[in-house]
């Protein structure tokens, strides 16, 4: 799974949580929680979905790495690399 695939997965999961927003047009540097009006339950659902789909563990301590879209992609790429 390459960077593009991971980006697509993230966009898909964000769209599931915030259906009315267009996740593919997100500013990569904007705070996801602000941009998409995500609360802690939404965020937990996002982490759950990503960890299920990508088969990686995302510890709570790493949550800050998912703060923006750009950082989240970087983090997931790195996590998957480490898992491979």
């Amino acid at each position: 799974m390459n960077r593009n695939d991971i980006t697509a997965v993230l966009i898909e999961e964000l769209a599931g949580i915030a259906p009315e927003s267009d996740a593919s047009r997100l500013d990569p540097n904007a705070e996801l929680r602000e941009e998409l009006d995500i609360d802690s339950m939404d965020f937990l659902n996002l982490v759950t979905a990503l960890s299920d789909r990508l088969k990686i563990d995302i510890p709570e301590l790493d949550y800050p790495n998912l703060a923006t879209f750009g950082h989240a992609v970087d983090y997931l790429v790195q996590r998957l690399g480490a898992a491979a």
Binding site: S40, M41, L44, T48, S51, E60
Partner: protein, 383 residues
């Protein structure tokens, strides 16, 4: 038609999920109704056999209208009684097309349908109405495969999006009544969160995401347990005065994306483990946002808890949801200077507020209740 809130006057029957002849028991979901709060699944309180429907899908009827006749079980059935004329029979199913399952669409053909014997037998076994099916055989004859397909199809169409304008009207009616009738009093306290947050961090560090807990679960549990000692905040105020609830069913305020709010109940929240409570909360939030709550979840709450969450403000002054008598509000956790052991230290704290009905309780009892919630949150491992 069940009342799903003090403000609800009528509802539209969207779909029957059981059929005459079906045996039903308490808790079974028998129908879907469309209300100001979106599509709600009606669960039944009685046991018996459904004798017949009294209301057709697409019909809007006032609250209290019998929807069906249930035979057997207790004589006092929820649905027994006279047939009540419907308000808007002139607008059948098309009023809510998104909800109507293919099996319940109005008949289009005239006269007998051609049905293969195997299809007829299979449909009878599975309780599927033949006249709702689309036949793929010659001259539209219904074949066994058509019945198989219908049986495999999901029983419910995808719920349509919540009507936020309707929901706003429902909130307006309930809150106007609250401000008109309920003499509110307000109390506030600051709760130190170190123990809760440390305990959550440790607990969640060994759990996969699907099993992690949120602070909200601890807050709900603390309120539910404290209510066990403070029954005057758990129940309803009606014409007969205050009546204590027959269980602790915590209404949990859930914000709807795009605006709107709904507070369905987590039943017997005081009896649930944190894991179960968290699972219920997750399920409830998902269903509230997709518009798939059950009628009992909207009529059951004996108190409401509102939790502002992490991107918010410090304090909420709640408006009680009638006929309830109390609302507990939690603000956003914030870092603040705190005095511990004679030293000023940086700590995460949260404001907890109580809005309560002076007809049912006094500030002194309210203060004890709020302090008890704080005390319980200082021992999260015991929640």
């Amino acid at each position: 038609m069940p009342s799903l809130g003090a403000d609800m006057e009528a509802g539209t029957l969207v779909e029957w999920l059981k059929r005459p002849g079906d045996r039903v028991k308490r808790g079974d979901i028998v129908a879907v109704v469309e209300t100001q709060k979106g599509a709600i699944e009606v669960d039944i309180f009685e046991e018996g056999v459904i004798e017949r429907w009294l209301v057709e899908p697409g019909t809007t009827v006032p609250v209290g209208t019998p929807l069906a006749l249930i035979a057997g079980g207790e004589p006092a059935t929820v649905a027994a009684g006279e047939e009540v004329p419907a308000i808007a029979t002139s607008t059948p199913a098309p009023a809510v097309p998104a909800f109507v399952s293919p099996l319940l669409e109005p008949r289009t053909g005239v006269g007998r349908r051609r049905v293969s014997p195997a299809a007829r037998r299979s449909a009878a076994e599975r309780g599927i109405a033949l006249d709702g099916l689309i036949g793929s055989g010659p001259e539209g004859a219904i074949l066994h495969a058509d019945v198989e397909r219908a049986a495999a199809a999901p029983r419910r169409a995808v719920p349509k999006r919540l009507d936020l304008a309707e929901m706003r009207r429902a909130i307006a009616a309930a809150m106007a009544r609250s401000k008109r009738e309920i003499p509110h009093y307000y109390l506030s306290t600051t709760i130190e969160l170190t123990r809760c947050l440390t305990w959550l961090e440790t607990t969640n560090s060994t759990r996969p995401p699907a099993q992690r807990l949120l602070l909200a679960a601890l807050l709900l549990k603390a309120v539910a347990r404290a209510l066990g000692e403070a029954p005057e905040f758990n129940g309803f105020f009606t014409a007969e005065g205050f009546q204590s609830g027959t269980g602790i069913h915590v209404g949990t305020a859930i914000a709807i994306r795009g605006g709107g709010l709904i507070a369905p109940a987590i039943r017997d929240a005081d009896q649930l483990s944190l894991e179960k409570l968290m699972a219920r909360l997750r399920d409830l939030v998902a269903r509230a946002r997709s518009g798939a709550l059950r009628s009992s979840e909207l009529s059951d709450p004996t108190i409401t808890v509102t939790n502002l969450g992490e991107r918010s403000v410090e304090t909420v002054f709640g408006v009680i949801y009638p006929p309830q008598v109390a609302l507990v509000g939690f603000g956003m956790p914030v870092g603040r200077p705190w005095v511990a052991g004679g030293q000023v230290v940086a700590r995460r704290v949260m404001t907890a507020t109580l809005a309560a009905d002076h007809r049912a309780s006094d500030g002194h009892r309210g203060a004890l209740f709020l302090a008890d919630i704080d005390r319980r949150l200082q021992s999260p491992e015991k929640l």
